[in-house]
Amino acid sequence: MGFFFQELVNGITTGALYSLVALGFSMVYGVLKLLNFAHGDLYMVGAFIGYFVIQWFGGPSALTIPVPLLLVIMFVLAAVVVGGLGVAIERFAYRPLRNAPRIAPLITAIGVSFFLENAALLLFGAQFRIYNTPDFISFSSGIQIGSVSIDAVQIMVLVLGIALMIGLRQLVSRTKLGKQMRAVAADREAAEMMGINVDWTIAATFFLGSALAGVAGVMAGLLFNQVTNTIGFIAGLKAFTAAVVGGIGSIPGAMLGGLLIGVAESFITGYISSTYTNLLVFALLIVVMLVRPTGLLGQPQLQKV
């Protein structure tokens, strides 16, 4: 029984990670109706940034600054840089195709994703970069509930993830920017006619979504310890799954979807075998898409004839 709950906790933690990535992905889809295939690769860039910050400050076993400060710098830098990268990609690759048929930005996104992966390969090489988290965050510090242990990194991921999600929810529903985002997502032309600066809103959405992905990347580095240029691809796929299962364009949907995928993955790895994990997650997506294409919390799109 303890095993069950341990896997559950692990699953929720990874789920929080997937949710963050799925959130950014869903936000971007909401305003642009674009499946940003490069989103997972932004997560990868964030993970690399976190790694290099650690190296810059002395390396995992010889840090020159206190750990909390290190973490703050890692997260903030990843958020800002990856956010900026997202804005640049939007400006350069997607904006010219705003009014093109959907196939065009989709293929461009694939190109951007491929380019990012290989740029990382060129710049950083193929070998895995190791965070060595236990060297600076002791795994023994954590909490123990019965036979279930939740270590410090997991707690941090959970807390930060939930805080970010709540923060984002508030931003979208309470602030002016959030209202603009929702308006652009509903009807871009009408929003423009109502005086909303659509370009700016879309850029802001990209910044936020990409920043979330960057933060998730750092978390992934801390949790999974290894970073390489291909982690973005699989993570991106899982984020798609999460966003689509939950209902693309829906923020609570992305959160729910991420959680489901994380927990499902955890249980499959724990109870069946890790070789089948990806396969079963993909199969899960295909089934959900066939049964309920708009996802669990999504809304069907109507077409005026």
Binding site: R91, G111, F115, L122, L123, L237, N278, I286
Partner: protein
């Protein structure tokens, strides 16, 4: 372009007004300047004669000296051309974004492998090719139907996701499931070669000609389909599925037929691939190959048979040329830059100024850097051949090129993004340092890692083509209704 509406009964179209305008619009469809002239000339020849000429040219290649390694490249190219042709049916004609297309290729390859090797049963099934090929093609077509079933309810983006996942699931499947039957990560080896009309095809030449014949036949078949009821049905479904349905077209059935046809072609390609390689491994059918096929289709022009073939061949020349030798890679890189400049920079005077300024900048920078620090220019250009010799005193290559090259790469991407945003005079001015920086990055980093560089080029092709010329080199410009 519209005629003044005239009361019925008066004189009809005014030659010189309607027809001339229509012809002008038609002219703009072609590639700019002399390339367009060449296109028009080719069009006068007629499609079937052109096919014959292309086929003959291909047949002469091995005779004229394509040998050894290059022949293998030729074979790989033809396999990919076949895939591009099949993908064109699904994406180009019917407008279904199938991101798992490579899985049909894999299915065909694995299917053929299982039927033609020791893998199944005690001694394996060793079906002769004239049996296994049709079986595999039919089987792949059925798989295509199955994958296409979601297309009835899913449109556009959703279909793309589901097919992408199917493609990924295929790789995971062949990697992990039933390793004793499917070989797991070690794949299947020891596949029979193809026996065609009594000849056992064992040489690369043989496979090259076999593939050439298949490609030509496939192009002929597709051409017939294009102008037929089926082809019109496919294209109507791409244009407007609802209107198509209202015009008697059974949209779901038409989509399924597209999936099945595309899959069947991919299955055929996979079978020949498996026979020629004598082995199949899961990574052969992973996403990078899918992206390669898409790059070929996008570059050449989705929706056009000739475009699919041409685009794929050009992509393969780049993809493989970069890998072959630093000299060849240099030709491709600098050739592409010069080509873009020549095509885009007008008037000629501007082009001359930019080239001259870049040269001057380079020599000056090199001299200054050399004077400041010897190690800054100690490394020579990492490419070889006469280009490298010419550039030795022009491009700065430090003793340890890696780190400066990396920074240069990032800076180059930023500059390119900036270039796109600027216009006119500032763009021309910024072009000069950008070209120099590009050469720097090439000589320090890109040439040293050709396998990564060629992937970068593929990604760049997709991005640039979609933004600059979405209809590809030979495709027709499309007009989309605003929804």
């Amino acid at each position: 372009m519209s005629t003044e509406p005239q009361p019925p009964g008066t004189a009809g179209p005014q030659v010189g007004v309607d027809e001339w305008v229509a012809r002008q619009a038609h002219r703009r469809e072609y590639l700019p300047s002399w390339l367009g002239g060449a296109q028009r000339l080719l069009e006068r020849i007629g499609w079937w004669p052109r096919l014959a000429i292309a086929g003959l040219a291909g047949a002469l290649l091995p005779v004229l000296g394509l040998g050894g390694f290059q022949l293998q490249v030729g074979i790989d190219s033809l396999v990919l051309v076949l895939l591009a042709l099949g993908l064109n049916v699904v994406v180009g004609w019917t407008g279904l974004l199938d991101l798992g297309y490579i899985a049909f290729f894999g299915f065909g390859a694995y299917g053929f492998a299982l039927l033609s090797s020791n893998q199944l049963g005690s001694h394996g099934i060793h079906l002769p090719a004239y049996l296994s090929l049709p079986i595999v093609m039919a089987g792949t077509a059925i798989v295509g139907l199955l994958v296409g079933l979601p297309s009835r309810r899913l449109i556009g983006d959703y279909l793309a996701i589901v097919t992408l996942f199917f493609g990924e699931a295929f790789v995971e499947f062949t990697n992990n499931v039933a390793p004793s039957k499917l070989g797991g990560p070690n794949g299947i080896v020891g596949i029979d070669t193809i026996n065609a009309f009594g000849h056992q095809i064992t040489t690369n030449e043989g496979y090259f000609y076999l593939l050439l014949v298949i490609v030509v036949l496939t192009m002929a078949v597709l051409r017939r389909l294009e102008g037929s009821r089926t082809g019109r049905g496919w294209r109507a479904v791409r244009e407007d599925p609802l209107a198509a349905a209202s015009m008697t077209i059974p949209v779901d059935r038409v989509k399924l037929m597209a999936f099945a046809s595309g899959a069947m072609i991919a299955g055929l390609a996979g079978s020949i691939f498996a026979a020629q390689q004598i082995s199949v491994f899961p990574p052969d059918f992973d996403t990078p190959y899918l992206i390669l096929v898409y790059a070929g289709l996008v570059l050449g022009g989705a929706g056009s048979i000739a475009g699919s073939v041409t685009g794929m061949l050009v992509v393969m020349v780049i993809y493989d040329g970069v890998l072959r030798s630093p000299t060849d890679a240099g030709y491709i890189f600098y050739g592409l830059i010069l080509l873009t400049l020549v095509a885009k920079l007008r008037p000629w005077r501007r082009l001359g100024i930019v080239l001259a300024a870049t040269a001057v900048l380079g020599f000056a920078a090199h001299a200054i850097a050399g004077a400041l620090s010897a190690s800054a220019v100690a490394g020579g250009p990492q490419s070889t051949g006469w280009i490298a010799d010419a550039l030795r005193d022009w491009v700065i290559v430090p003793a340890n090129p890696q780190t400066p090259g990396n920074y240069g790469f990032v800076l180059l991407v930023c500059l390119l993004i900036a270039l796109v945003q600027l216009t006119d005079r500032w763009r021309t001015i910024l072009l000069v340092p950008t070209i120099y920086l590009a050469s720097f990055v090439w000589e320090t980093r890109l040439i040293a890692e050709p396998s990564v560089t060629r992937q970068l080029m593929i990604g760049a092709i997709l991005i640039v083509m979609m933004n600059a010329r979405p209809q590809g080199l030979l495709g027709a410009r499309r007009v989309e209704a605003l929804t």
